[in-house]
Symmetry: C2
Subunit: 691 residues, 2 copies
């Protein structure tokens, strides 16, 4: 690597000039603003201070414009997978170089992050995953009491597992936030002496001084020691110096007298450095401002002109108490709430580094005509939303042959339905939430403060990030459906509360009807509605029928859209003792239980209208039997009309566009199913001639 703009022929003359520049820099920038701040005060013998000082005034020479920078992160589990995204957003916000992220992940994190990065489509970012499971044997022999568990220790083995071709890498903990261009950090490699192999910021607490409490015996360290939340690793030099042997021998030696590491890899790094101080290159404190409860970081940030990286290195994370916590939280909240799609920015002047699919997508979008009346629909259909699956910790359901997952989608204005839904449905759920990044944080707070929701680990929440003016209802349904893990799914809507017994009843029915997962059956759950805010939910079909007769309940949309549910044949249902077959008819859109490998929803239907109708047609075209369950029901609660339904009602263009989508759907249906699809087209034409 050559620093930006430096001519490639580095002759003696250039070296001389460099030396001159150093001298000049010392005169011009005498203040020593950030670099190695207070290093001299804390290290006995100050082995680094003078070296720091000599380089201090120079604005680091940034790497060349299009140079690829490498970053390694260990990330495991649901919470760290959420955390790391905020870190990545902060890095992407300020970066101006292509990045290669080396992610050491467990299966959970890999699943989440693979989906996220695939759908994020950030140009000039390469992702490579490494399986944390394979690394465990390398470090599991080290007893460790730190909250990061085994995963923290994995940073020690990065030189062994990263590609041999990789000479240098920046290693980051998931709980750091950037407030500067990561290229500035990368540029500090240029300040390493020939022997230095690892760049670290001094630890900003008294932990390693060993005087925090009586009999406090930390691992050995130079002075306050170093913090490993941000590391510059010179990999090829580490490999040459026999790093693996060095750290393992050191750890084994210390473990003769110490029972475990308290701070995971950091203890081992410090013990190695204590024995080999020539290996460490101390970094300016601003590159790892540590915000634990008893932090000494204030000494750093009150003098510095500029903070570069903040590090939430307390188990309390953002809830840490220190007098400037609010300031640092605001920096962090900036990226928590930042709309990630804005980071889909190309790097001008660098070779094209579009992620897979991005080019075709750009071309398709470029072909749209902005003046066309349905442009908004076309654009929305093509939109690739970022998707964060299993946003919260989740316990997948054990494999059971008749189990059913409730599948639904919602946005922020329906959060208040979740608790009631949990009370009504005791089985697994897969829910897609259409949220902004900021709303996702509100949602997180909402779940954490709800005893009902936080007790449920069998509800998987998948965030689909908002983009565009039309609600992508079927894309949302498909995300939730794809993440359902049981053989059967109940395709519901968020405004419906199922009968209390429905989960058990469905499983029993599937078992009794011997459906297996291969039979193409769609079990219809009859839908009702109440118009009352407060409403006593019926405990049985008998109670439901009483309420229906009393006019407190109605057949769903009976007045506004009778054809939507008429084929369910509610008169038959009243009397039915056993499941009965019904036939498809135009505009039928019942709520059904189907095998999870059922057809997906057609994503062309965005906004209001026809999104379920098309799916039922697809089921019928694929010859799913429609069977109504005699004891099943669910009830729709009242709500204000959505923005989309309001637009549908008030805008003729909106209705025309929906009509165009319907017609295109039928054309595709004919192409796909041939003559068998004729009945749907006929039905459509008949219903239009009636309208």
């Amino acid at each position: 690597m050559l620093p930006r703009g430096r001519p490639r022929a580095l002759g003696a003359a250039t070296l001389l000039l460099l030396l001159l520049l150093v001298v000049v820099g010392f005169f011009l920038f005498g203040r020593d603003p950030e670099y190695g701040l207070r290093a001299a005060a804390t290290f006995d013998g100050d082995p680094y201070g003078s070296r720091n000082r000599s380089a201090s005034g120079l604005h680091p020479l940034l790497p060349p414009k299009c140079e690829l920078l490498h970053v390694a992160i260990v990330c495991a589990g649901y919470n760290a997978s959420r955390e790391v995204i905020t870190l990545v957003k902060s890095v992407l916000f300020y970066r101006k170089n292509p990045l290669h992220l080396h992610l050491v992940t467990d299966a959970v994190a890999r699943n989440i992050l693979e989906t996220l990065f695939r759908t994020w489509m950030v140009p000039a970012v390469v992702i490579r995953f490494y399986d944390a499971e394979e690394l465990k044997p390398l470090i599991s022999w080290i007893p460790n009491t730190h909250y990061s568990g085994l995963y923290g220790l994995m940073k020690l083995v990065l030189p062994s597992i990263l590609p041999l071709s990789l000479a240098r890498v920046i290693v980051l903990d998931t709980d750091v936030t950037f407030s500067s261009d990561i290229a500035e950090l990368w540029a500090l490699f240029a300040h390493f002496s020939d022997k230095q192999v690892v760049g670290l910021v001094e630890n900003q607490s008294d932990w390693y001084l060993g005087n925090l409490w009586k009999n406090h015996r930390p691992w050995p360290a130079l002075g306050r020691g170093f913090n490993t939340g941000v590391i510059l690793l010179w990999l090829d030099r580490l490999r040459q110096t026999g790093w693996e042997q060095m750290w393992t021998l050191t750890a084994k030696r210390e473990l003769l007298t110490l029972t475990a590491t308290s701070l995971a890899d950091q203890d081992v790094f410090n013990a190695v450095i204590k024995a080999h101080p020539e290996l460490v290159h101390p970094l300016p404190c601003v590159w790892n401002v540590q915000l634990s409860d008893h932090t000494l970081a204030e000494r750093c940030y009150l003098e510095a002109a500029d903070l570069k990286v903040i590090h939430w290195n307390s188990p309390k994370k953002l809830r840490v108490k220190n007098k400037h916590a609010e300031f640092f939280r605001n920096l962090h909240l900036t990226f928590l709430g930042y709309d990630g799609k804005l980071l889909r920015r190309e790097l001008f002047g660098c070779p094209n580094q579009l992620p897979p699919g991005a080019e075709q997508l750009q071309q398709a979008l470029a072909q749209l005509d902005e003046e066309e009346p349905c442009f908004e629909f076309r654009q929305q259909q093509l939109t690739v939303h970022r998707v964060h699956i299993t946003f919260l910790p989740h316990q997948p359901p054990p494999p059971r042959p008749h189990d059913v997952t409730l599948v639904a989608q919602l946005s922020m204005d329906r959060l208040q339905m979740l608790e009631a839904l949990c009370r009504h449905w005791s089985g697994p759920m897969s829910l897609a939430l259409y949220l902004t990044d900021a709303e996702a944080q509100q949602f997180l707070h909402f779940v954490e403060t709800s005893p009902v929701l936080s007790a449920r680990k069998d509800v998987a929440y998948h965030i689909v990030y908002r983009d565009g003016p039309l609600y992508p209802v079927n894309q949302l349904r498909n995300v939730a459906l794809a993440q359902a893990l049981t053989p059967y799914v109940f395709l519901s809507d968020i405004d419906f509360l199922p009968a209390y017994s429905l989960y058990d009843y469905l499983r029993a029915s599937i078992e009794q009807m011997e459906l297996g997962s291969r039979r193409k059956a769609a079990l219809v759950v009859p839908a009702f509605e109440t118009l009352h805010y407060r409403f006593s939910f019926p405990n049985s079909k008998a109670e439901l029928l009483t309420l229906l007769d009393a006019g407190s309940l109605h057949i769903f949309r009976y007045h506004e859209w009778p054809q939507g549910h008429a084929p369910t044949d509610y008169a038959h249902w009243r009397e039915a003792q056993a499941p009965y077959h019904v036939q498809w008819a135009a505009d039928y859109e019942p709520y059904v239980v189907v095998p999870r490998d059922c057809p997906r929803y057609d994503p062309r239907f965005v906004g209001f209208g026809w999104n379920k109708v098309a799916h039922i047609i697809e089921l019928d075209a694929q010859e799913y039997e429609l069977l109504v369950l005699p004891e099943a029901f669910s009830i729709h609660l009242p709500h204000a009309p959505s923005l989309d339904i309001s637009r549908f009602r008030s805008s003729p263009t909106y209705r025309d566009c929906l009509q165009a989508l319907k017609e295109e759907f039928h054309q595709d249906l004919s192409r796909h199913y041939g003559a068998a699809a004729l009945k749907y087209l006929t039905a459509l034409q008949q219903s239009q001639s009636r309208a």
Copy 2:
């Protein structure tokens, strides 16, 4: 001012070193990355190119950490007031210095921006307003066809109107967005030669070359000329060189042959520079990347490592078409949607520069106990929300003695009510919207694409920015109430649609009852509700009574909360031909029409419950007569329970906290009204013993 860290004694030795550094820089940074890019290619004779080149490699020396930087902006009208906030957010995001903003505003912008900055409470920002009206005579003699009107020209007179003590200032158009620290721009003053007084970026279009079309006759300019969206003005030198005389003479001379300025101040600046090229210091192109339709900016940003300021200098603004528009829009959208409260960040290490009130607020917040069960309520009550009044263009109602403004508040989930409300209420409205910064942009789009809403100029929308988990209902009401401009206000809620005739009827009633604006009267508008999504709104009281008797309509909350409206005496109302008096009773919360100087709502009530009840008590305590209007009515439409009402129902703590608020309210009432307040306390105790 001395650049950061430069020793104060600048002797010959240092000059020599500087020279060395320049030479070294030339070798090391041979690429000439950004500074004066392509200047040589466009200026005949290249009078600046060589000077640029010599300075090119130097990273500008930043001003000292706490140095105050001055920025001047001309801003007039509703739309520019919205625009300028995004600019200010982008500057604040990257700034590390205290700022003094000099805002030249018309009355509209001043009103908006004064409220905004007062409630924004950003530390280390000083605001000073200058009245644009007073400047008009100085420039109105210049015929101008540019869309900015007279306001654009006002940049010419800044040296005359800014304080004499002010030596240098950065002048910005409202349509620029920062992507870097403004201190870096300020630092470029240090590169001015002794004669240079104005720093400008070259114009990135061919406009001034005069060959865009046949007979295209632009004002004279050096080569492509300069763009005045970003200006460094060295004010004291300008005053010394007789700037005022210089530009007025130049403008007058040119206007002998040209009919008007096409590009406002920019034409005049360029004409002066053409005559006095020694006055201009050309700035690197990255400090004003111009995004007009035919921009040549690509030459700049494809080579630059880093963009500093982008300039939406097309009348199409963000809708401009160029192949990288998406990239630049994303930069801009970052700040459009950025949560402004995160910019309430102090500058570490600089003298305390808290805005008025911030210190008391911090103390009050610090005294709260996080472990106290009602902490969330306490914190929400103390929260100072940023407020952007009249977010959209607004035509204040003409003064009419009996006019009534409808006052209400809403959040994003009630936007769909606005069109219906406009159809039902033809008079002025003052609406407070509780939104995030990103939602405010969605709201703007919503209004712009709604023919109904965009046609109405008598609806004032006031944005109160979200902060905290509880809906600050009464703070919102007070914002909307304070901005109502008619003698009377109808205090309504967003889920109600008034009778079609209500606006006319209220005005007629106020006139007939000879209320004047001094009589303490509260006119009650009886409230009803429907439970149906689709519903045929009654055109008269007779139709309403028919629907009521048929059970399609109900008295509002008759089943859940009868005491809320019982005192209105609906039986009496059915028969009433004239207004009638009613008496206050516990929990009464009618919708009323009152003089606009009525008591404010009590802001301690946040979230759900008792917010209107307390206000009616306040009216009664201040001896407002309660008069029910015989022909008035409004009807509540169905919606899902709000998050707050759901929390109220499910959380005993929430209910306990509301109870605590009620008791504190009564204590304050007793303190304030003495024995007269006893009846409210008695009523409270009775209703509690019944419950």
